[in-house]
């Protein structure tokens, strides 16, 4: 078995994916830790590492109409430095890991790692972002929310490479992101909350709520969101309990080294209330 391969262009990478059992390797900030064997020892991988971080075709970052297209090798630092990246997305990225990790890590890697605690996922779910999967003979586009099927599981086939992410544009006048971790730098998430809404004349036109780290998958419910769309903001307090009950059924956290299920549940429901009451009520004209 080949230990590693450095393709000169995308077509060569796709040939490799078709012909050998490969692990696509970009920043590697999750892969190196997951395959570590201890101090001074080389990490152990059971497949050929396909190094894709230098592929020019995957370093692209552009706006197609109003859709942000981000190549799979674009790092989190490059996203933070780009003027086209929405402010709320930058706020999320700034709270991820620390600068040295962001200099290497990619958005594509955060998606493929498919952790319920993946910090970019609530945003990608809320924005209806899509992934582009390419193999030698086919290109398919899937919503991120469908691409991730379970913790650590995705729909990526063995011969497919995730080559890019598309984020459709949307404008919001209420934006709130809260990440709860043990400390500010380098912390993994206990629970995270993202609320986005656009309101006009005291009425909710669009609202999206996503929670991370509190269920086997990112929690987002269009059904609950549709109960709010079209409502007057001043009517929210009257249906708050019902909404919290709806979300409570979807929030199914676990106890682990970072936090407890009970804390995660309670804090999630409070973050939902904080957004719907404190952030939204300010928008009543």
């Amino acid at each position: 078995m080949l230990d590693g391969y450095l393709p000169a262009k995308l077509s060569e990478a796709l040939d490799m994916m078709a012909e050998c059992d490969c692990i696509p390797f970009a920043g590697g900030t999750d892969l190196m830790v997951q395959h570590a064997r201890g101090s001074g020892v080389r990490p152990c991988f059971d497949k050929t590492l396909l190094f894709v971080s230098a592929l020019k075709e995957l370093k692209t970052f552009d706006l197609m109409g109003k859709t942000l297209r981000i190549g799979a090798a674009v790092t989190l630092s490059e996203l933070l430095e780009n003027a086209a990246t929405p402010q709320i997305f930058k706020e999320i990225l700034r709270q991820m890991a620390a600068a040295p990790t962001r200099h290497m890590a990619t958005l594509a890697g955060n998606i493929c790692n498919a952790s319920p605690a993946g910090d970019t996922l609530p945003y990608l779910y809320a924005m209806d972002a899509e992934v582009i999967l390419q193999s030698r003979n086919e290109t398919r586009v899937l919503p991120v929310a469908d691409f991730i099927t379970a913790p650590k599981r995705t729909q990526r086939k063995n011969d497919e490479l995730l080559t890019g992410i598309r984020i459709p544009a949307a404008e919001f006048n209420v934006e709130s992101y809260r990440k709860l971790g043990q400390r500010k730098g380098m912390s993994l998430t206990k629970a995270s909350f993202l609320g986005l809404a656009s309101t006009a004349n005291g009425r909710i036109e669009d609202i999206r709520i996503a929670l991370g780290s509190v269920a086997p998958h990112i929690v987002r419910s269009r059904k609950i969101e549709s109960k709010l769309t079209g409502k007057n903001i001043k009517d929210i307090p009257g249906i708050l309990q019902e909404l919290q009950k709806d979300y409570s059924a979807l929030i199914r956290p676990i106890d682990d080294a970072r936090s407890t299920a009970a804390y995660r549940k309670q804090v999630s429901l409070r973050l939902i209330r904080d957004f719907l009451i404190n952030c939204m009520l300010k928008k009543i004209p």
Binding site: R42, S77, P100, H103, M186
Partner: protein, 156 residues
């Protein structure tokens, strides 16, 4: 895997396993022991180097990802004008106690000043948030970065 990269200004050719960590190559093959292995999982910053001018943790970099890259270690950096200013600033501020974390902090400082020659305190704290120091309590280190920026370490 055959890898060609630049280490402290010199072209290097190596034939190594693709998953070999840069950290182990620097310490074991080149004897550059300014990089330290602390946590081995990218949390502590003790193994930090500059790659194409940005601070990265060498424990998380497999050699296969290094082709064509420009690597600067603390040893060579501290020979440069900017390195000397930053090193002096750390001494002046009393930002060093046991010294284990110091090379990493100097790399993080260099990376910050490359991108932002005149950072405010919040920007300094954010840039250093990937480095752990168990002696100083950070205040002196933040002061050292301010002194270095004030003496023009970001401009040279």
């Amino acid at each position: 895997m055959k890898i060609e990269f630049t280490l402290n200004g010199e072209k290097k050719h190596l034939d190594v396993h693709a998953a070999t960590r840069l950290l182990d190559v620097l310490r074991g093959h080149f004897g550059l022991i300014g990089v330290k292995e602390g946590c081995g999982e990218g949390e502590c910053g003790a193994c930090m180097v500059l790659i194409n001018g940005r601070a990265m943790n060498s424990c998380m970099i497999p050699m296969g990802n290094l082709e064509g890259k420009n690597v600067i270690t603390p040893e060579a950096f501290c020979q440069s004008e900017r390195g000397r200013i930053i090193e002096d600033a750390f001494m002046e501020a009393g930002a060093v106690q046991c010294g284990f974390c110091t090379p990493g902090f100097i790399m993080a400082t260099a990376s910050l000043l490359n991108a932002n020659p005149d950072p405010d305190e919040a920007q300094i704290r954010e840039a250093l948030s990937g480095n752990l120091c168990r002696c100083t309590g950070y205040t002196a280190i933040v002061r050292a970065v301010r002194i270095a920026a004030g003496k023009g370490a970001g401009a040279c």
